[in-house]
């Protein structure tokens, strides 16, 4: 920076504050305008994405209601656009064409090979098992990690037993991923040979989410069965 002795080069503080304030105001306005302008479109996109994912894991479902499982027990419907109360776990109840409960779906996440693997799994209350899962977002290696989507043996893991323990505090048996070919129990996930890390991520994601959610949901079956 040049320092001429003839003219003072430093901007007076008042002018600086005024200009910075002006720039902050302009930037703030632009951001808020963009946020408001895109808000509806973004919410719609998210709603469509959720719907598509839930319909995929609960094929019989024709409509979805969003619920939150409260920390103190009990389930509560979440109105569109509202935020769930603190500590509550979000899940979706799918109802078929006749209004009967077809199953519930919830999200789970765990670290895979590269970044997080986010999945949506479906829980069938009649059989107390996890009937299917689908991937919401993942960055696993193409051809290796993404085999969890298509590998026949891996998909044959489901339905996966997920009974809630009698004291309603956790799952009766934790869902765990085991080495390829060594699955003996119905609550184990047989990993894909050569894609162990991603397989483990799926198992962990389902287990972590199910351990927290299912004990809260199980006592409230009747409330969920009626689609109000």
């Amino acid at each position: 920076m040049n320092s001429q002795a003839i003219l003072p080069q430093t901007t007076p503080a008042a002018a600086m504050i005024r200009t910075l304030g002006l720039i902050a105001a302009i930037c703030g306005l632009i951001i808020v305008a963009a946020y408001q302008g895109t808000y509806d479109a973004v919410q719609e996109n998210k709603r469509i994405a959720v719907e598509r994912a839930v319909f995929k894991v609960i094929p019989a479902a024709k409509s979805i209601v969003e619920y939150s499982a409260l920390p103190a027990g009990g389930v509560e419907k979440i109105a569109a656009g509202a935020t769930a109360p603190a500590g509550a776990l979000k899940f979706y109840a799918g109802y078929d064409a006749g209004g009967e409960l077809a199953g519930i779906a919830a999200e789970g996440a765990a670290k895979g090979y590269a970044d997080t693997v986010r999945i949506l799994f479906a829980y069938d209350l009649a059989t107390s098992s996890i009937s299917a899962f689908s991937v919401v977002a993942m960055r696993e290696t193409p051809g290796i990690g993404d085999k969890i989507l298509v590998d026949k043996d891996f998909l044959a893991n489901f339905p996966l037993e997920a009974k809630v323990s009698t004291d309603l505090k956790a799952l009766a048996n934790a869902i765990v991923t085991v080495k390829h070919g060594s699955k003996t129990k119905p609550w184990e996930v047989d990993a894909i040979s050569g894609a162990t890390i991603t397989s483990r991520a799926v198992g962990k994601a389902i287990n972590d989410a199910a351990q927290a959610l299912l004990p809260r949901v199980a006592p409230n079956l009747d409330k969920l069965k009626e689609k109000s």
Partner: protein, 192 residues
Amino acid sequence: MHESAAYIFVNALLANNFVLAMFLGLCPFLGVSGKLDTAFPMGVATTFVMLVASLCAYGLNLLLTAFQLEFLRLISYIVIIASSVQLVEMVLKKYSPGLFRALGIYLPLITTNCAVLGVALFQTAREYDFVQSMAFSFGGGAGFTLALVLMASVRERLQLSDVPSVAQGTALSLMLAGILSLAFMGFAGLGG
């Protein structure tokens, strides 16, 4: 998510190294890794800024979420980072002028280092708690320093070898980085 701090640290250091696997902090990685003497202090300075940024980002995020001002997240993060770098510059200038001169222009450039903003953004996206965030930024910074030091050591050696002139410069650094990245892929699954 429920990962232990130790796992997050080791993961950020090796398997998901910030430079070689996540592509963060590449500009200084290619620019400063010519000499070992500048590479190591640069890594340490960046790690320090990353720790400060991670700390501030955690606090800022709590505030922004409480007031539902998420759309201001990016701006507030970057302002905090710019201020932290300014702070580090002033501290270094006062207490270690030799180091300040050695780092030269690269010190203010830490502001535009993707790794620093990357730490803040990733820890927010993964919803890490305080301890996990600290482990993540410390591991990330250590991994950045590790990659920088490795690169600098190899490049110093290569100055004495017979590299075809058409490949010298950035092309060679990139090829080197590719080999390093390939090697680090071997750490996959470590600790988890």
